[in-house]
Amino acid sequence: MERHEYDVIVIGAGGAGLRAAIEARQQGKRTAIICKSLFGKAHTVMAEGGAAAAMGNVNSDDNWMVHFRDTMRGGKFLNNWRMAELHAKEAPDRVWELEAWGALFDRTKDGKISQRNFGGHEYPRLAHVGDRTGLEMIRTLQQRVVALQQEDFEVHGDYEAYIKVFAECTVTRLLKDGDAISGAFAYWRETGKFITFDAPAVVLATGGIGKSFVVTSNSWEYTGDGHALALLAGASLINMEFIQFHPTGMVWPPSVRGILVTESVRGDGGVLTNSEGRRFMFDYIPDVFKDKYATTEEEGDRWYTDQANNRRPPELLPRDEVARAINAEVKAGRGSPQGGVFLDVSSRLPAAEIIKRLPSMHHQFKELADVDITAEPMQVGPTCHYVMGGVEVDADTGAASVPGLFAAGEVSGGMHGSNRLGGNSLSDLLVFGRRAGAGAAAYVDSLGGNRPQVTGVEEALAEATAPLERQGGENPYEVHHELQRTMNDLVGIIRKENEVAEALEVVEKLKERATNTTAPGGKIYNPGWHLALDLRNMLLVSECVAKAALLRQESRGGHTRDDYPAMRPEWRRRLLVCSAKPDGSEVQVVEKAQISMRGDLITLFDRAELSKYLTEDELAEYDAAAKELS
């Protein structure tokens, strides 16, 4: 069997994975990047709006503290505040660094990086390139990897001396030596041959879990691999009940249902209306945001040109609020003909401006739906977009509880609390990708010569070949479809106790069926086999989502319970932590207390605002901190 030795292996080649790999290599570590797709195709490529970083290029009042506050508000104060702090502080440097690696962002008049408005961000904050920012980011990072390989070629005569990309290669198990990580087991999609990676540090950067749902903006890769690999290796996941349903996905034609319509449409002036022509978002401003959003259309419209004297239009509320509002309008019978609501930018901007600012939206609607967005409204509805939950990590290093295991980006949890703000994902990838790469490099240094030994290869091999050897079992595509329908219908945007419980029963049965799947055909590029292996991950993650959703008896961010519609302060400090046995059985969810926010951070907020989120006890802590600092 093919075997490779590395210092650090990074699983996933999206923004977080590439930034982690670049960091590990820059710190002198021999680094492998393992990705399921071709190099440069990861899901980051689909990010549209931009990367949030308080550079203050458009509004000089912006700074990290404002960004920190916006992030915490967006996450309804459930965020890991240390991550939110690091993120807000470091995002500008990470964006500027991309520019030095060749990225070409759109510019302001004075030649700086332009920044655009987005939901939940107080000031224009998103560095962007039209509406294809993710592509720019992934290409820049990809080209940075190539630049490092060229440097290595100059010195060592081998492009791959220090950093090598294993493309179309899927990891099915992390390998351990006792408690510590010692490598990973994978197969080449192209040939079906197996590989063992011998490495003391693994950075998970595998993205999200959207493929467990029918209507999703996510690609086939988003099968929760990193989440599941971490669980099976003994690490814990947090906040798995929080899933972001992006308010605006395409609703028609059926085959593209769920494909993302960027929030930039609203950031650049687009408005949401129902079948009665009403801008309904004005009816859905929640109490906690009452003083921050315009109450009339006139004020909202003035805000685009005069932000100092007006409040934002409610179309730019955080995503969870907008998604729920759209859902409610459709349920109340005020939806559009194709089952969404209207999103109109045609009456708000000149056609040429729309094509310049939103080129890929224009292209996407024209090519896929025969809709000209410069002349008519789009129809949109919520789509499963992002999982806030993920591997529980140390904020500063990205380290999980298992020695040698690190995670960054969507697969890690905590940073975004119960709801992520748009634009905070691309910056998250950069900030924590770099930190996880550095954390892994430091961990490898700390080991000295004591590299853990690879074990468990036999078991991993047996597990991976089983669907090929079985005869007459289940069709993996059917098991997958049933899981997607179940999660979509029963653990979707609005949840009820009995429905989530029902979903758990279905998942239990599907887990059984998934152990009996058959993949006809050979080992060479066999998608049926690949899906059969991915099912284990999707089912495990779905179980975590459902179990956590059942426990949290409140509504907050990306978790809305019909039977507990209010946000409850006593639940703010209760994080739900999932764990499982190495065979994926006995998924457990336990409560864990959120650590109190540092005094200098909590006092960045007004007491009046905090009183909407915190318990009386916590407010007493706030008073003590305020007193100490005054």
Binding site: G111, H363, P527
Partner: protein, 248 residues
């Protein structure tokens, strides 16, 4: 609004293969990739196809549909009649791995041979100042989703395997133009574009531009201007004289 569509899909691996006929359900609003996925789920579970975003943003599902290079996710079934047999084959310029999946490693090799962005040593991150009008030229080329259909269609390598070693293809000649037009790139790329990467092979038939799903004007905006830059250098009498006198 659904009907039974007729598909003829190339199946095979290891240098052998054949066109296989399928009859498969087609629904309103679907694209070719949807139908390929339905074939996988119902009739041919091991049918190999690359795809990711299904929204024309990642450039993974390049294939040849009725002989034309296309993204499967952006080719709507409504562009065909219900009676038409739709033939789907892998990209021809690259070796087939299996079914519709080809070995595109040529492209990654070429990417590695183009010297990277080279900024001036004294500009620090955060200090870059560029005008929108100056970044727009390179931005057009950075819209590229690397579907590699331009390289697939380019006759220099489509019909001449032997040219692959010394021809980077439209994708990477455009990359050279992109860097050459970057306001902060200080590397000299003109000679190597011609001598190392085969810019001279391009005889501007614009096949690449025609197939580009991002509608990048590869020939007009990247390759022709790059050729002009090379020519300006080569036939500039002062440069010529300087080269004669000072070379080595």
């Amino acid at each position: 609004m659904s009907y039974k569509g007729k598909f003829r899909v190339w199946r095979g691996e290891g240098g052998e293969g054949r066109l296989e006929d399928f009859t498969v359900e087609v629904n309103e609003g679907e694209v070719v990739l949807d139908v390929i996925h339905r074939l996988q789920a119902t009739q041919a579970p091991d049918l190999a196809v690359r795809w990711n975003c299904k929204a024309g943003k990642c450039g993974s599902c390049s294939m040849e549909i009725n002989g034309k290079p296309r993204l499967g996710c952006m080719t709507r079934m409504s562009t065909f009649t219900e009676e038409e047999t739709i033939t789907v084959t892998p990209m021809r310029t690259f070796p087939v791995i299996k079914d519709l999946v080809t070995d595109v490693s040529y492209n990654y090799q070429k990417a590695r041979e183009i010297p990277s962005f080279t900024p001036p040593a004294d500009v620090k991150p955060g200090e870059y100042r560029m005008q929108q009008i100056d970044v727009e030229r390179s931005q057009e080329f950075r819209k590229c989703i690397e579907c590699f259909m331009c390289n697939n269609v380019c006759h220099v390598i489509r019909d001449h395997e032997e040219n692959k070693t010394h021809f980077a293809g439209p994708r990477f000649l455009m990359r050279i133009a992109e860097l050459d037009m970057h306001p902060y790139d200080v590397a000299d790329r003109k000679d190597s574009a011609q001598e190392d990467h085969g810019l001279g092979y391009c005889n501007i038939t614009k096949c690449c531009t025609e197939v580009c799903p991002e509608h990048i004007k590869i020939t007009d905006n990247a390759l022709i201007p790059m050729k002009e830059r090379v020519v300006d250098r080569k036939y500039d009498p002062l440069v010529w004289l300087g080269n004669k006198i000072f070379r080595r």
